[in-house]
Chain length 212, copies 2
């Protein structure tokens, strides 16, 4: 079933993908022919039917601009997720957490390749170099999942009550104390009493945008 696509078929498919993404509608047979360099509309149709046989597109006879992409391709088009950027995270400041207010000033748009499960996800922008031990830089975007506990070994955003300090470290509960391990293996862990640690969420992803 999975035959090789001919060169033309591949080019048609790519054109369809680009066109649909750009215009949110399918091209006509003639538009395809012109773009791919096929002079005859019947040949375009012939190859479209091949693509449909391969399960790559949906071909709706007699319907103007009736082609649809199928499967993986559409999922890519359809799926992106908007995550709110709640605010800055810095060593000496409380960690922002989600509230019920519905609109946020800033958001970031991501795909499912980055965030598998959108539930409880929010973003913070790192301010300052205080989390450099976690290999996190000034300006980085940290994606967090809001949850009051984490598994041992997960990278957590924690608030140290006594020190009134926010930090990002790997979390290990060891008896009645907590070992907070920097991501940088050259750096030593710190140990704090368990009741001094308030887990604010789990770090799911770190994004560092350096340039357009």
């Amino acid at each position: 079933m999975v035959r090789e696509l001919s060169d033309r078929q591949r080019r048609i498919y790519e054109f369809l993908y680009d066109y649909i993404r750009a215009k949110e509608r399918a091209p006509t047979v003639r538009e395809i022919g012109e773009a791919v360099g096929i002079p005859s509309t019947s040949v375009v149709k012939y190859n479209l039917l091949k693509l449909a046989e391969e399960g790559l597109i949906e071909y709706n006879p007699k319907i103007a601009r009736g082609i649809r992409l199928i499967g993986e391709a559409v999922r890519r088009l359809a799926d992106s997720i908007r995550i709110p950027i709640l605010g800055p995270i810095a060593a000496g400041q409380p960690i922002p957490v989600p509230d019920t207010s519905l609109d946020y000033e800033r958001t970031i748009e991501l795909t499912r390749d980055i965030v598998k499960n959108q539930k409880g996800i929010y973003a913070l922008e790192v301010q300052g170099d205080s989390m450099i031990d976690a290999l996190i830089h000034d300006g980085d975007i940290v994606l967090m999942r809001y949850q009051p506990t984490v598994e041992n070994g997960e990278l957590a955003a924690v608030w140290l009550r006594r020190e009134e300090e926010a930090t990002l470290k790997r979390f290990y509960l060891e008896g009645d104390r907590v070992r907070l391990q920097p991501a940088n293996p050259m750096m030593k862990p710190i140990f704090v009493p368990a009741d001094n640690v308030e887990v604010k969420g789990k770090v799911v992803c770190v994004i560092r945008r350096l340039d357009s």
Copy 2:
């Protein structure tokens, strides 16, 4: 400008929304008329133009099924970009660069919020902790733009010819030598002769996925 919509116009808009979401294409004038109970195609057109005036839809004259929804409703549908992951980047290994072969084993899907301009972008997966001075961790995905030179101060992927070593550092050309500055401000720069440095590209973004 923000006039009240007539009942018909509201029903047309709702129908458009449902239809497009279900079929990924716009209905024809006649389909709209039938669904909303308008017997005359000209009346459908009349009301579509009203909706377009209000900025609710995009009306493309003479194009079959040329209606588009405008605004938040559709925004989610549009843009994501597939970037190939060419391979690992590690201290002691040559840096992979794009070639002409068209399909890649692994890719990552991103949005324009991450990659503004797709041109020349590829991804590498960091192997090992040798780039920890650049605040880059084992397993991180590094997005690169393939280019043979970089501006001073940009984070570059460079190949040190003599040492046969790959590294990611901020690049400063100073006379006939190059200063390579780690991202971690606590660490000292290294200086190398300019002809020992081969720039492989610019680092555009770093992504660290910790967990689904």
